[in-house]
Symmetry: C2
Subunit: 469 residues, 2 copies
Amino acid sequence: MAERGTLTAEHLEQLKSIVGAEYVFTDEESFQKYGRDETENLLFYPEVVVKPRTTEEISAIMRLCHENYIPVTPRGAGTGLSGGALPHLGGVLISTERLNSILEIDERNLQVTTEPGVITEILQTAVREKGLFYPPDPSSRGSCFIGGNIAENSGGPKAVKYGVVRDYVLNLEVVLPTGEVIWTGSNVLKNSTGYNLTQLMVGSEGTLGIVTKIVLRLIPHPKFDLLMLVPFQSLEKAGEAVSAIFRAGFTPSALELVEIDALRIVSAFVDSSAVPLTPDTEAHLIIEVDGNHMETLMAEMEAIAGLLTEYECGEIYFADDAQQKAELWKMRRRVAEAVKIAGYTIEEDTVVPRADLPALIRGVKAIGANYNFHAVCYGHAGDGNLHIRIKKEGTVNSQDDPEVVAGLRDLFALVYDLKGTISGEHGIGLIQKGFMDIVFNETQFRLMRSIKKVFDPHNILNAGKIFDA
Amino acid sequence: MAERGTLTAEHLEQLKSIVGAEYVFTDEESFQKYGRDETENLLFYPEVVVKPRTTEEISAIMRLCHENYIPVTPRGAGTGLSGGALPHLGGVLISTERLNSILEIDERNLQVTTEPGVITEILQTAVREKGLFYPPDPSSRGSCFIGGNIAENSGGPKAVKYGVVRDYVLNLEVVLPTGEVIWTGSNVLKNSTGYNLTQLMVGSEGTLGIVTKIVLRLIPHPKFDLLMLVPFQSLEKAGEAVSAIFRAGFTPSALELVEIDALRIVSAFVDSSAVPLTPDTEAHLIIEVDGNHMETLMAEMEAIAGLLTEYECGEIYFADDAQQKAELWKMRRRVAEAVKIAGYTIEEDTVVPRADLPALIRGVKAIGANYNFHAVCYGHAGDGNLHIRIKKEGTVNSQDDPEVVAGLRDLFALVYDLKGTISGEHGIGLIQKGFMDIVFNETQFRLMRSIKKVFDPHNILNAGKIFDA
């Protein structure tokens, strides 16, 4: 265990001189707000919340904390689902909310340079106005920060066609735990120059550095899209249909699965009576295609619909106009929030090879029955990425319930057997690290811990996330 | 400088007992063959060449060499252009040529699992027979190994639409320099579970481990493609046209630039009289579009052709049938070989943001004039990745000529100013490492050297490539 320093009154004064006294907070309200994220009901107070504005200020904070072995937790918008932003060791919480400028939209090169505290949807809208497209959009895109998306290597519904965050990151300015500042790469589409520090940083959950500038590649925005909702009598059949679509040569721009329980809950929650819920249905697929030629899309959608009849689908609902599409997407995007409120507090983020979704779904149901919890499934079926929400009477946090923990160990063992893994887009953070031994062996842990030490010799930056040092 | 062991007669016996005496070579002919790659005219003799068949054999070799501090150079097909496979420290050369099986084509999940010694084109053909597509195809695809492609993070002409090798690698089995064997990830499309060891391995040029199994994602093969050759009176105008195509919302499946000198040389070399070379031309663009709907492609090609008239292009040649397409691609693929034979021995692999190609091209010509060498440019213009072949009378290897080295330093400084970098797809290897200080500072070097040390504490595996430890 590394040495751990204590935050003193003198350190507080130094923090104030770095960022200005008005951006240093030690009040109860700030601790309540910055001590949580969207992960279950966990709360940890930091010792101080600071809100720097610049790379240089973050660098100065890190130098101070590095020299004094003070724990630092970086935080975006706090929408994370694995506890990555929770200040579980106290110390200094650095909010990136004031680094919130889009610095340049480079229309010549189809790139955008942004600070990390920009809300993902604001970034998407800004580039959309130039006809450009930044596809990765987690369900929380209306509130999450692009910096947090990079920390967790977020995905979202478009990933099935367009890839995840890591596929768009070209270059990052990063403040290292020592306070040093580097760029990880270059603003180019191809790079075989040295080790890929950019990709090492993406998805490292704020444990290797604090990202302060981001260069993303963009693509031309597709002109049209079509959307449909397809009911299935059997959840497994829905899962089988997913891989059939790809095997037939189609690549939808979204291919989401929502189990009927989840859809009923969210449907009431957002009052989306416009979207029909067929009786005798176990699950729905939401399928979108996009492109620049409407006729091509119509033909594709028809061909996919034809294929689905082989998997016992019910009557297909086509979202006809922009409003119906928005309605349907709103429902999908708010599933997690709605089912959480309905008592499904534990969210898992399993991912398996696409064709093994039916096996995963069967496994989830069996494991739930064994360990006395109820699970609803939804998520990015096209990627094999299934979110599983768990409700167990009397349970608030998964960490506290031995039966839930045992069930999750069975679930992750199944996922590993299927050549999948624990997290597809939410990260490991604080709450999943106890399961990492299921998918990593001692050699892999040694490599990751040693890499952490290369970047953070004093183990101060988001220490104890992903794994214990 | 780390300790360095000597290969003894006893070690040779141990190597024979690991792989079988018939796969251990110390003859002159083997040293001549395995002492070279396609990089200029460099030759370094290893002390022994071994040809293992399995992961276990490679692991045993690495344990032996790790314990005895013996340098090891891993080698694919030896088609590299940066000297990555050259055994410049002597020691053991491990050829992966016998790990040459495609292990599984998973049509359910659109994945392939292969050994590293499979020729890239053979892999592409095998998956094509199942209607699947593995897009990255370096010009050397007919002879290079997929393992080497992973070591260098290769690209090729399709990268502009489909991405480079790293975009297709899901999971790798790797023998570490210590002899330990790990898998770097999972067989899934999205992964936020721990540090991205897979992407750290891709492009690490055989310095962090020897890849022994590879899981690649595949995509449905597009049904149709169209190809055209477009002459430009001005090289710069051709460069400007490239970014205009993307700004207009098109994403060609290939967008190559070839300067007229290079095209004349290769045209004579392969006797491609079928492809017309217009007079008063400085450069050509080769433009391909692909997709599943021929009418859409025809409309796209026409629209692109229309756009190009604004950039003073000459008469466009449309490759009408499969044979004309093959002829044109053959010409493009053999440019490097042809110009090398014509005396352009030094190949650079610069990459800049796409719209800055004209600035790079102007710079190349000016630098060549300053330092008395002649340069021809060609490459993957759509990615901003320009290969520059240099010919200087009386020069054989770039390392030997101070004027060439000074000119290259100017060139890379320009590239860095344009926010580009030294290598887009060939790697740094042995011959570019002297220029790394132009694009990396001491902090970045420290991180990379420390990561190398995490994986290879005795600094034996491809030591002295990319950077000195």
